[in-house]
C-alpha cells in the first residue's frame, strides 16, 4: 500500500520536473527569424543576423516613452541579469520606431542606461523611416505617430511585445507586453537547457 503511494508521488515529481509552462507564444509555423539591416548605437551598419550564435531578446519602442518602454527594458535587464549576467550568450536589442527623434547617439545613451551592469552591451538600433518600417513589418510590429497636446510632444502608439530568437537564428517565441521578467527568464532558461524543445 505504502509502495503505491511512493510510486504515485514519484510520478508526480517526475511530471513536475518535465513540464514547463511557457509564458510566451511560439510563432506558427516556427521558422527562420526575419533579418533586417539598420544602424547601431555606434552609428555603424548592423544586421540582425550578425547575432547568429546568440539568444536574442528583441524589443521595439522609442526613447521619448517614459512609461512603457523603460518598463520593457528594465524587464529585459532583469532577464539578462538572471540568465547571463556576465556572459555573452543573451543579447538584448532595442529598435526605435521613432527615427525622427532617435539618433544613434540618443539610442546609445538610452540603452547605455539599462546595460551598465553587464560586460556585454545592449544594441540600440535606428535607421531611416523606410528601414524601420522594413524591420518592424515581418515581426508584426505596428506603430503610429499620435499628435498630442502634451508639452512632451507627439507620442508613438506601438505594439510592445518581446521576441526571442535562438542561436540558429530561428524566431522561437513572442512575449506579450504583460509578461514579467522572471517568466521570460524561465522560458529562456528552459530553451537554453532543452535546445530541441518546441
Amino acid at each position: 500500500m505504502k509502495m503505491r503511494w511512493l510510486i504515485g508521488l514519484g510520478l508526480i515529481g517526475l511530471l513536475a520536473a518535465c513540464a514547463h509552462t511557457f509564458s510566451g507564444v511560439a510563432p506558427n509555423p516556427l521558422g527562420p527569424a526575419p533579418d533586417f539591416a539598420l544602424t547601431d548605437e555606434q552609428g555603424q551598419p548592423f544586421k540582425l543576423s550578425d547575432l547568429r550564435g546568440k539568444w536574442v531578446l528583441l524589443a521595439y519602442g522609442y526613447t521619448h516613452c517614459p512609461d512603457v518602454c523603460p518598463l520593457t527594458l528594465s524587464r529585459l535587464r532583469d532577464v539578462k541579469k538572471a540568465v547571463d549576467a556576465n556572459g555573452d550568450q543573451v543579447q538584448v536589442v532595442f529598435v526605435t520606431i521613432d527615427p525622427e527623434r532617435d539618433s544613434a547617439d540618443i539610442m546609445q545613451k538610452y540603452v547605455g542606461h539599462f546595460d551598465n551592469l553587464f560586460p556585454q552591451k545592449f544594441k540600440g538600433l535606428t535607421g531611416t523611416p523606410a528601414e524601420i518600417a522594413a524591420a518592424a513589418k515581418p515581426y508584426n510590429v505596428k506603430y503610429e505617430k499620435k499628435e498630442s497636446t502634451s508639452a512632451g510632444g507627439y507620442s508613438m502608439g506601438h505594439t510592445a511585445e518581446v521576441y526571442l530568437i535562438d542561436p540558429q537564428f530561428n524566431w522561437r517565441m513572442t512575449f506579450p507586453f504583460g509578461v514579467k521578467a522572471e517568466e521570460i527568464a524561465a522560458d529562456l532558461q528552459y530553451f537554453m537547457q532543452h535546445p530541441e524543445a518546441k
Binding site: H64, C65, D67, P70, A151, S155, H158, T159, F177
Partner: protein
C-alpha cells in the same frame, strides 16, 4: 502594583501618541493619503520621465487635478493603455479617486509625466512633489528616485 500602574499609563500614552501621529503609509489630508511615491531614474535626463504613487481615499470621491515639483518644468497626468493592439499614451485632464477606494499610478497605466527636468536625477535621490486634489487640496509627498 505600582509597577503595573506605570506600565498601564505608559501603554495608554503610547496608544494616544500613535493615534495622533500620521497614519501609516504617508501624509494624510482630508480622506486622501498618498504612499509608495517614486520617480523612475530617467534613462536620458533631457527627455520625459515618469513618476508613480498610490492614492488611498477613505472619504468622498475626489480628483487629482495636477502635480507640481521643482524637479520638472511641467508635470502632466498621463495614461498608458492598450488600444488597437498597440500601447498608447495620452494626457488625461484628471484622475478620479473613488470614494473609499484607491488609485494606483503604476507602470503601464496612469502615471505622472515629468517634462523638462530641471536637474539630473540619480537613483536614491529624494524629491518633493505637491499633488493638488479637487477636495483635499494640496498634498505634499516625498518620492524616491529608483530604477523600478
Amino acid at each position: 502594583m505600582k509597577r503595573v500602574m506605570v506600565i498601564s499609563v505608559s501603554l495608554l500614552l503610547a496608544a494616544v501618541l500613535a493615534a495622533c501621529g500620521p497614519a501609516a503609509g504617508g501624509p494624510t489630508t482630508g480622506g486622501v493619503s498618498v504612499s509608495d511615491a517614486w520617480v523612475r531614474t530617467p534613462p536620458i535626463s533631457d527627455q520625459p520621465g515618469a513618476a508613480y504613487l498610490v492614492i488611498q481615499n477613505n472619504g468622498a470621491a475626489d480628483k487629482l487635478l495636477s502635480v507640481t515639483s521643482d524637479i520638472a518644468q511641467t508635470i502632466e497626468l498621463h495614461e498608458s493603455m492598450e488600444s488597437g493592439g498597440m500601447m498608447q499614451m495620452s494626457p488625461v485632464p484628471n484622475i478620479l479617486v473613488p470614494a473609499n477606494g484607491k488609485v494606483e499610478l503604476k507602470p503601464g497605466g496612469f502615471h505622472m509625466m515629468l517634462i523638462g527636468l530641471t536637474r539630473p536625477l540619480k537613483t536614491g535621490d529624494k524629491v518633493q512633489l505637491t499633488l493638488n486634489f479637487e477636495k483635499a487640496g494640496k498634498v505634499p509627498v516625498t518620492a524616491e528616485v529608483r530604477e523600478q
